[in-house]
């Protein structure tokens, strides 16, 4: 189906306008250093969550260990910059690529055997894998001293700012959108809808499940590599089970199978958490976790299908020929997604 206007151009202009607005706010000091830190964190989280969005939101493969790929990317990139890069931009580019590849390779190696598991069993296997990675990172200094082990890895360089992060975020959104709307992307979505039917239609389910898993792992790896160049310090606890839960919350609260939902929720969630710190002040800071938890339960009770419920806005909306395929699956009463 032909589009009425040159979509790519419109999107690029749109992205430039958003970038310009944010940049103006930063330059005029409306967004101070503190909030810029939060903004950067939100963008990194967005990229990481997009990785899980492909795996779980679009491919329907329940993953409870996304932070493992995020951590792999961060530690790989961080180690390269620390050992060889020392602020050199060529090494920096290499570190980003290596971090992305680390996410991809690790997700391939673990995905190949465990993707044959279904729903909750896959979730538990990925959860176990995530915990194994955290334990290994905690003990990594015994083999490679610069990784720092449980104490954490210090001496990293701040080489990524808002500009690059914005670029990578927009780029990641494009990659995910184009992938999902491509022919392999439709195969990936069809597996979420009904794996047996997809198989019967001649779709190589193992191949496409692996493809989605690796792409998702690579994106989270990239997010980790960016993280390692934004903050001066890496600690295994930033890539543990709670971080995996965080990604899962973002993807589910945003609505499974919605890029818009993932992006909006990732940014909103990070700002909400930091905003709470601000609103509560020193006196009531202990209540932050309580409010966070209550909010989580209330939101999911009110919107079990997620905020966007599988819908997209603007250029992320699939062309109408694809629409029926991209609508999130009708739920049968007990099984539902992941059943």
């Amino acid at each position: 189906m032909k589009r009425k206007y040159n979509q790519t151009l419109v999107i690029l202009i749109g992205a430039a306008v958003v970038y310009g607005l944010l940049k103006a706010l930063i330059l005029t000091g409306m967004i101070g250093d503190y909030w810029q830190l939060i903004l950067d964190e939100a963008l990194i989280t967005t990229i990481g969550a997009l990785g899980l969005s492909i795996i779980y939101g679009f491919n329907g493969q329940f993953s409870l260990g996304q932070a493992a790929f995020y951590g792999m990317g961060a530690y790989t990139a961080g180690a390269i910059t620390k050992a060889y890069g020392h602020g050199n931009w060529v090494w920096f580019a290499g570190a980003l690529i290596a971090g992305t590849l680390a996410g991809a390779v690790v997700s391939y190696l673990i995905g190949r055997p465990i993707l044959r598991l279904r729903s909750d069993y896959l979730g538990i296997a990925t959860l176990g894998f995530g915990i194994i990675v955290t334990v290994l990172l905690n003990n990594a200094d015994k083999v490679i001293p610069i990784l720092g082990g449980a104490i954490g890895m210090t001496g990293l360089r701040h080489m990524v700012g808002f500009d690059l992060l914005f670029l990578f975020t927009v780029g990641s959104i494009f990659v995910v959108r184009n992938f999902i709307q491509s022919s392999p992307g439709r195969a990936v979505v069809s597996i979420r809808e009904d794996e047996i039917a997809a198989d019967a239609m001649g779709i190589d389910t193992t191949r496409y499940k692996t493809m989605a898993f690796v792409l998702g792992g690579a994106l989270s790896g990239l997010a980790g590599a960016l993280y390692a160049h934004r903050y001066p310090y890496l600690n295994p606890s930033s890539f543990d089970w709670l971080q995996s839960v965080n990604f899962l919350l973002i993807v589910v609260l945003g609505g499974l199978g919605s890029i818009t939902g993932t992006v909006v929720t990732a940014i909103g969630w990070v700002f909400l958490l930091e905003g709470l710190r601000f609103v509560l002040g020193q006196q009531f800071i202990d209540f932050r976790g309580v409010i966070y938890a209550v909010l989580l339960v209330v939101v999911i009770l009110l919107r079990p299908q997620g905020l966007f419920g599988g819908k997209e806005i603007g250029f992320l909306r699939p062309p109408s020929v694809l629409k029926p395929a991209l609508r999130p699956g009708k739920e049968n009463s007990h099984a539902g997604i992941g059943g």
Partner: protein, 293 residues
């Protein structure tokens, strides 16, 4: 050899505590197909109830019963507020709700006017007694844990296979709608299941507090995850499977700590899980259901 046997006993002690938590996980999963992530935190609440009971000078069997009562109430309330409204929503919604409840219990009980964020040392009312059986030391705490777990497991098996409530539970776990058509009060049966499951976690909490007398409000996360893993290992939804998985988990963990490295304990335990799942995707005792076409 004596060292090895001593470790086997230690592993048994840990495995038996895991078994009590794993039983609750497997029952809840069996009946509503939900990974109840809040279960580990109910276990934590059980430990704290035990702690306060011991402070008040209550004998341990009473403390166990008190923790079971408190946790059962908590479990029923959690189910009513956070899971029941989502029963016919996508399964993931209830799972997220469970994660929310889990975080709520952790952070809420960490508030200063509840349990507080600090570690607390449990003053067990039991004087440690060591018996030497064929060269291996067995403590009275280990014997007590074994006795409690055996009694509870036997009671549970009786309840599920020999009573009307148990039959109803099995029917609901098999098919909600068919059970309802047969006149079973599905909501009531699910409430009872949650009550029993969380009561077992409460008992587990008190035993854990006696055996490993240092508790804090985030202590439930790891035992919770491991007990759930144990339940999956044995075959989720199968009661004897949960106990079997938990005993294996306890041995793997203790043996790794004793003979390899205590820091790699968790990695090896979860590595075993992944391996078992690859060989038997439905767990050790699980039936490999044929794919529906």
């Amino acid at each position: 050899m004596h060292y090895f046997l001593a470790e086997v006993i230690n592993g048994l002690q840990l495995g038996l505590v895991y078994a009590l938590i794993a039983l609750g996980y497997t029952m809840v999963y069996g009946i509503v197909k939900l990974i109840n992530f809040a279960h580990g935190d109910v276990f934590m609440v059980g430990s704290f109830v035990g702690y306060f009971c011991f402070m008040a000078g209550v004998p341990w069997p009473v403390a166990v019963l008190a923790a079971m009562a408190v946790c059962a109430t908590l479990g029923v309330v959690i189910e009513k507020i956070a899971y029941r409204p989502l029963r016919y929503a996508p399964k993931i919604a209830a799972l997220i709700s469970a994660l929310g409840v889990s975080l709520f219990l952790e952070y809420f009980s960490s508030l200063k006017f509840i349990f507080g964020p600090d570690y607390r040392v449990v003053h067990s009312p039991l004087q440690a007694v060591n018996w030497n059986i064929g060269g291996v030391t067995v403590t009275n705490i280990q014997v007590m844990i074994l006795a409690v777990v055996v009694v509870m497991f036997a009671g549970l098996q009786y309840l599920i296979h020999r009573t009307k409530v148990g039959t109803a539970m099995r029917a609901v776990s098999f098919d909600h709608d068919a059970a309802r058509l047969m006149g079973i009060n599905v909501d009531g049966v699910i409430s009872i299941t949650f009550a029993i499951a969380t009561a077992l976690a409460g008992a587990g909490g008190v035993l854990y507090a006696i055996a490993y007398p240092e508790i804090w409000t985030f202590m439930g996360i790891m035992p919770g995850l491991k007990a759930f893993t144990a339940a999956v290992l044995g075959g989720i939804g199968i009661i004897p499977g949960a106990v079997l998985g938990a005993l294996i988990m306890g041995q793997v963990e203790t043996m790794t700590a004793a003979f390899l490295s205590s820091t790699l304990r968790d990695a090896i335990a979860f590595g075993v899980l992944i391996l078992v799942l690859l060989i038997r995707p439905s767990g050790i005792l699980g039936k490999n259901r044929p794919e529906k076409v």
